[in-house]
């Protein structure tokens, strides 16, 4: 039977649009098949590309979302002004705030909890141009540790800024370039080392002995490219702002890679993370210098150990409001005071912004 034997529908069908009972397929059926095949091809190519990027088996089904926490809201509080090229911030005993600056006189400035400056100090026997204090951390006993990549040193000060000496690099790490610093509750010191071609994390026990080191320079999971800020949670999990790789990597207490928050353009993705801190409720805050924002995440208790459970939930963030004059320009260091306040170094605006959540 030829197609001309089929009765025409009211209004008519397009040319060649008859059914295929006589051995021919309708064009729209052919088109649908072709589209399906094309879609399948595109999907396969997409998975291939995804594999190329991640070197991980492609994830076909999105992981379940674990919504235990409400989204956070943030509110601007105040700023500490008058700094020059500040980079690092830490909160110590009695709410004292320590800020490092890499411009001007390159001091470590000290503020009380009311954000009034109560003093400043610098590494002994140095002049302004001979030092570059970058990051700062406060040990559980209140001592203040300051990294200076230029001097390949970590200086130790009392809470009042009296010099106590320097941290000796462990054997085999004498060429270190210390950058980011943090402590865990047990007093172990974590050092982000950016020695050329040896980017890694070095952990020293309270006696200054090498406890752990992990990572190498590169782009694979577990490797680093300019690690900056770090934080340690109550489980001993170590969170590292892997700055130039545009991600946050999490490790267990033995330095084994657990999971990451990746670079990207979607909500919650990172760009160039620098400062990082975690609060008592496992909420991780990250200052992203090129995204000009601070972003918060909830880290699940089983993150990294249960592949079926979402490790991270994005809780929102803040980037200031250009209209109100509190926007960030290249934020860097970040610290929490334990009272719900966040200190964010606003480097190019020469200030530290204080927010609460």
């Amino acid at each position: 039977m030829s197609t001309t034997d089929w009765p025409q529908q009211p209004g008519g069908l397009p040319d060649g649009g008859g059914p295929s009972a006589g051995g021919r397929l309708r064009p729209f059926v052919k088109m649908a098949i072709a589209l399906l095949l094309l879609a399948a091809l595109g999907w396969v190519l997409l998975l291939s590309a995804q594999y190329c990027e991640t070197k991980q088996p492609p994830s076909i089904v999105p992981p379940p979302v674990n919504r235990l926490f409400d989204k956070l809201s943030f509110e601007y509080v105040d700023s500490i002004n008058g700094l020059q090229n500040p980079m690092g911030v830490a909160v110590g005993q009695n709410g004292r705030v320590y800020v490092t600056e890499t411009g001007g006189e390159r001091m470590i400035h000290v503020y009380n909890s009311l954000r009034q400056e109560v003093g400043s100090f610098a590494p002994p026997d140095t002049e302004a141009l001979g030092r570059v204090p970058v990051y700062v951390a406060v040990s559980p006993n209140g001592d203040v540790y300051v990294s200076d990549r230029d001097a390949a040193a970590i200086y130790i000060f009392s809470p009042d800024g009296v010099a106590q000496g320097k941290v000796a690099p462990p054997k085999g790490f004498e060429d270190w370039h210390p950058l980011g610093l943090t402590f865990d509750p047990a007093g172990n010191l974590y050092v982000a080392d950016v020695t050329p071609e040896k980017h890694r994390v070095i952990v020293l026990d309270p006696e200054g002995k090498l406890k752990l080191n992990f990572g190498s320079q590169g782009e694979e999971d577990g490797q680093f490219w300019f690690p900056n800020g770090m934080a340690v949670d109550s489980q001993g999990r170590i969170f590292v702002a892997d700055s130039n790789n545009g991600r946050m990597q999490a490790f267990d207490k033995d330095g084994k890679f657990l999971f990451k928050i990746s670079r990207g353009m979607s909500s919650g993705d990172l760009s160039i993370p620098r400062g990082i801190a975690i609060d008592s409720e496992d909420r991780l805050l990250i200052a992203d210098t090129s995204r000009a924002a601070v972003q918060a995440y909830h880290i699940s208790e089983s993150a990294g150990s249960d592949p079926q459970s979402a490790a991270v939930e994005f809780l929102g963030g803040f980037s200031g409001d250009a209209g109100s004059g509190v926007s960030f320009q290249f934020p860097n260091g970040l610290a929490l005071d334990g009272q719900g306040q966040i200190y964010v170094v606003d480097r190019a605006n020469n200030r530290v912004q204080v927010w609460k959540y």
Binding site: L25, Y51, C52, G130, N228, M265, I272
Partner: protein, 378 residues
């Protein structure tokens, strides 16, 4: 068309798609889609179908700055977020004039025993480590502690682009606001230090400076000698061009500098017997301001005892000038003379005699750079 034929076509299509998909997966498994080795660090765009490094700096629909940059602020602030003091995101701390990656054995470490920190060859934007009083005959050393720069390629400020335009152009040069990205291509391009082939708005015709092979040399203990490690070229008559890969690191940077400072360039003139082609200083260029000029074409190796036939005259712009900024100053001579500070700028203005910007990015105080080559003139 018969059903059999159509089925055959569909079957072939499915097989073709399967083959394509299989090849794609095979390429993926074999690592054909990995990221590129960085020529300029994160500046180089990734290969592959799904790069995401773009997201480090750009937003497609919500950019807050020119070129879809995510963040408001100056280009200088943007670049210094990695290349700033302390080097939080780079071994090249341009702001402080420090290179943190000087691992080449034998290089000076700026007086630091446990560090590989050295001075940047090009100086810095805020500070530099150039030993601007180095009395040695042929070298300029590195300072352990950086000093504040006194002159620099000023960024983010409307300033004069000295000597821009063809020879004979009226005036000393147009006004221009320089940014880091005027000279450097943040996406990488294979040129030496990701320099743009044509500096933005220079009006030049373009001059590429090929990248050097790894390991790159960003610094030196000898700020005058632009050869790798401060060594002499093996054959100064033929080298370069015909340069030895891995030895010659600069390919006539004067041509590149002249993309902007066009009227300064005097490549050659009437050669004097037995000397390099230095006759440019005796040739009237025809320009009302830049009339007679020191020759400044070459590759940076500087010695006046060059053999006859040394046709590359070794006076690259950067033999004498530090590109980013210099801590050199013009305090005047030992007898209290202040000749330099009374020499007018090309536009005819006179600065304050104590204006440190008189240093003009030179690598030695006063006219110390003259002495480096013309040591016999007392």
């Amino acid at each position: 068309m018969t059903k059999r034929k159509e089925v055959r076509i569909i079957r072939r299509t499915i097989i073709l798609i399967g083959v394509v998909a299989g090849v794609a997966m095979a390429l993926a498994v074999l690592g054909g889609g990995g990221t590129a080795s960085a020529d300029g660090g994160p500046h180089v765009v990734e290969t592959g179908a799904t790069p995401d490094k773009c997201a480090a700096c750009h937003r497609i629909h919500t950019g807050q700055n020119d070129f879809l940059l995510k963040e408001a602020g100056t280009v200088e602030d943007f670049c210094f977020s990695c290349h700033g003091n302390g080097g939080p995101g780079s071994d090249l701390a341009v702001q402080e004039g420090t290179f943190y990656g000087g691992t080449t054995p034998g290089f000076p470490y700026g007086g630091k025993t446990a560090s590989t920190t050295v001075g940047l060859r090009a100086g810095g934007s805020d500070t530099a480590r150039i030993n601007t009083t180095d009395a040695s005959a042929s070298a300029i050393g590195v300072l352990a502690t950086p000093e504040t720069v006194n002159s620099r390629h000023t960024l983010e400020t409307l300033t004069t682009l000295w000597g821009n335009g063809i020879v004979g152009t009226p005036g000393a040069g147009p006004s221009y606001t320089l940014e880091c990205t005027s000279c450097h291509d943040p996406h990488g391009n294979g040129n030496y230090r990701i320099l743009r082939t044509i500096p933005t708005d220079s009006g030049g015709a373009g001059y590429a400076i090929p990248d050097e092979p790894d390991p790159k040399v960003y610094t030196t203990g000898d700020y005058r000698n632009m050869y790798r490690g401060g060594v002499a070229p093996a054959n100064p008559i033929t080298e370069p061009p015909g340069a030895v890969p891995g030895v010659s690191i600069l390919y006539d940077t004067s041509q590149w500098c002249s993309q902007c400072h066009t009227r300064y360039l005097a490549e050659s003139g009437t050669a004097l017997s037995g000397k390099p082609a230095s006759g440019g200083s005796r040739v009237d260029s025809g320009d009302a301001i830049y009339t007679f000029r020191h020759t400044s074409a070459g590759y940076g190796y500087s010695t006046f005892s060059a053999p006859v036939g040394f046709k590359y005259n070794n006076r690259a712009c950067i033999t004498c000038h530090a590109t980013h900024g210099s801590n050199a100053q013009m305090p005047g001579g030992a007898t209290g003379t202040t000749y330099s500070s009374t020499v007018e700028w090309p536009d005819g203005t006179l600065s304050n005699p104590t204006d440190l910007e008189r240093a003009s990015l030179l690598k030695m105080d006063n006219r110390g750079m003259c002495r480096k080559c013309h040591g016999s003139i007392q």
